[in-house]
């Protein structure tokens, strides 16, 4: 049985090709960009946030499953370990963004360019009021400390998980009990810290806006993306002859999770949207007004791809049990949530750039004009994403090759192997 994953030369080459596409796209972007390198850095931020968050949610759900005494996922739990061990790379990517706050090589966040903020303008006043939290110290410090804590706990969990296999089977399951403590700890810690970081990394892009729901909404988007990638990676490994114990039953359950959490994401989307629509407060509605007016394709596609499609297709049992239909939905929804984050980040970044360069004048009337890489993602943005994806796959697959894919001494293993929906 194939239990040790070998990260083959062909697979590495595939990753390098993707990374190459990414580098090429980024270079082309860099040299064709405006003076603030808006498109380049917004792509960098978008993809860094997206993949780092996916890694975090793998850790979060993995821990939730441990504390919830889940047994069915054990046969593929090493995939999640591989994913969450991307965190140190995510940390580096976000630190590059953080460095840009100090060295001014990007202008993603309006609150960082305090010299450009005019205390006499109401809009800028509001932003200045937030600089107690939105500043480069907290951004950098929070990123290092919190992603650091996540990674620390991730290494504890991974260490115990692998040690459990390599040691004598323990009738008291002491390693597993220790894992449960770390897992239980990351749940509240992750809950609080992820909110902090989402506010810093993503919400503050629209510096004058706010929404208490936002952190949970973004986290749900990360979660669905992570679930989709899990299905794809698991199916790929099976295709290569690994993970023999993963059956249609496990796939079915993954499909159920994608279905359920897509509906959950939609519920959060709707709650945020409807409440802001209903109260009709200008300072809040501007967020959606901008997106509906200037980014309508992405706005509606977001709902169509991330709600309607998984809801209608994954409702039936049969579509969740077939690799074709499940992987198709998983891939499309993964792109869909990438687009969701695109829509979270790009409009605000564009507005900030226009403020700084006075490109559109200070009055904003009507819909913003079409801009490639903002109104819809262009080849360069997709290419950049492929590059980050290549890096992600490279790191995850390397992680997976460092331990057996088969957790031989996990207490729930037999349950997982014989899992029946």
């Amino acid at each position: 049985m194939n239990r040790e994953f070998v990260f083959t030369g062909r697979e590495r080459t595939f990753c390098f090709v993707l990374m190459g596409i990414g580098v090429l796209s980024m270079v082309l972007c860099f040299f064709g960009d405006d003076e603030l390198q808006t498109r380049f850095w917004s792509n960098f931020l978008h993809n860094s946030v997206f993949f780092t968050g996916i890694a975090f949610m793998a850790l979060f759900l993995y821990s939730a499953f441990i504390t919830g005494w889940s047994g069915w996922h054990i046969v593929f739990k090493r995939v999640w370990e591989g994913i969450y061990l991307f965190l140190p790379v995510g940390l580096i990517l976000m630190l590059i963004i953080a460095a840009g706050l100090w060295l001014d090589f990007h202008h993603l966040y309006e609150w960082n360019d305090t010299s450009a903020l005019n205390p006499d303008k109401l809009h800028d006043q509001i932003i200045l009021g937030k600089t107690g939290f939105l500043n480069k110290f907290w951004f950098t410090g929070g990123t290092i400390l919190f992603v650091g804590i996540w990674y620390f706990i991730a290494t504890r969990l991974r260490g115990l998980s692998v040690a459990e296999d390599n040691e004598e089977r323990d009738p008291n399951f002491s390693k597993h009990r220790k894992m449960r403590i770390w897992a239980a700890a990351i749940l509240p810690i992750g809950g609080f810290t992820s909110a902090f970081l989402i506010w810093q990394w993503v919400m503050s892009v629209d510096s004058a806006w706010y929404s208490t729901m936002f952190a949970w909404y973004a986290a749900a988007s990360w979660l669905v993306s992570m679930l989709c990638l899990t299905a794809i990676f698991t199916a790929y490994l099976k295709g290569r002859g690994y993970l023999e114990q993963v059956s249609h039953e496990h796939l079915h359950d993954m499909g159920k999770y994608i279905f359920a959490f897509s509906i959950f994401w939609t519920y959060l989307w709707f709650s945020q949207f409807m409440l802001i629509w209903y109260a009709n407060v200008g300072e809040e509605t501007i967020y959606f007004r901008e997106r509906m007016d200037s980014y309508p394709i992405l706005f509606w596609a977001n709902l169509a791809v991330n709600f309607a499609l998984p809801f209608l297709v994954l409702m039936r049992n049969s579509t969740k049990r077939k690799y074709g239909s499940l992987l198709f939905i998983a891939s499309v929804v993964f792109i869909g949530h990438w687009m969701d984050f695109f829509l979270m980040i790009k409009p605000g970044v564009r507005k900030t750039a226009e403020h700084l360069t006075h490109a559109a004048g200070d009055a904003h009337h009507g819909a913003a004009s079409f801009m490639s890489g903002f109104t819809i993602p262009g080849f360069i943005d997709i290419g950049t994403m492929l590059g980050f994806l290549g890096l992600f796959i490279f790191v995850v697959f390397s992680n997976m090759s460092r331990a057996s894919l088969y957790p031989a001494n996990d207490p729930y293993l037999a349950e997982s192997i014989h899992h029946h929906v």
Binding site: F273, Y278, M315
Partner: protein
């Protein structure tokens, strides 16, 4: 229309499952199987078709969705349009909660009522049962004696004794 039923009682669901498989292998047509709780694998062993109840649920739900959404649309755009809080007449986001609720309501009621009807159950309905202990801890395989008029009941009685039935009886339903 009364039926004469030859039935056997088993003490354990695993014995029951083996017996049902054995009946299938011996080509004995089971009239029905009665258990105190749902037994996994029994549906497959008996060759029962999958229930289509959930399709009914989906249809009822769709009916609820359309009723709610189209109803509110007509009321608020055609029948008596009123401006509430500056909202447009066709205020779609505001329609969503009620639409969702009615979808669930219709699906739930529709499916439940259908369930009782197709099972021949309802308030006050009395269906004759073979043995009071079936809802306690006995598992029952029942054969319609009419199906075995030519071949005789001995085959069934032999089947029951070979599969470990604790009791065998005849009852007229």
């Amino acid at each position: 229309m009364s039926k004469e039923v030859l039935y056997g009682l088993y003490n354990d669901e695993e014995d029951l499952l083996h017996a049902v498989h054995a009946a299938h292998d011996a080509h004995l047509d089971i009239m029905d199987v009665y258990t105190p709780f749902p037994v996994h694998g029994l549906d497959d062993a008996m060759g029962l078709d999958e229930s289509r109840l959930h399709i009914g649920g989906f249809i009822f739900g769709a009916l609820g969705l359309l009723t709610a959404f189209l109803g509110m649309t007509w009321i608020f755009t055609a029948d008596w349009p009123v401006i509430y809080g500056g909202k447009p007449y066709w205020s779609v986001p505001a329609f969503i909660p009620i639409t969702f609720e009615l979808t669930v309501l219709f699906a739930g009621i529709g499916m439940t009522v259908t369930f009782y009807i197709i099972c021949g159950m309802g308030p006050g309905v009395i269906n004759k049962t073979l043995d009071d202990r079936i809802t306690d801890d006995k598992f029952c395989i029942a054969f319609d004696t009419h199906d075995f008029e030519e071949t005789g009941l001995d085959k069934i009685k032999e089947f029951f004794s070979s599969t470990g039935a604790s009791e065998v009886n005849i009852k007229t339903l």
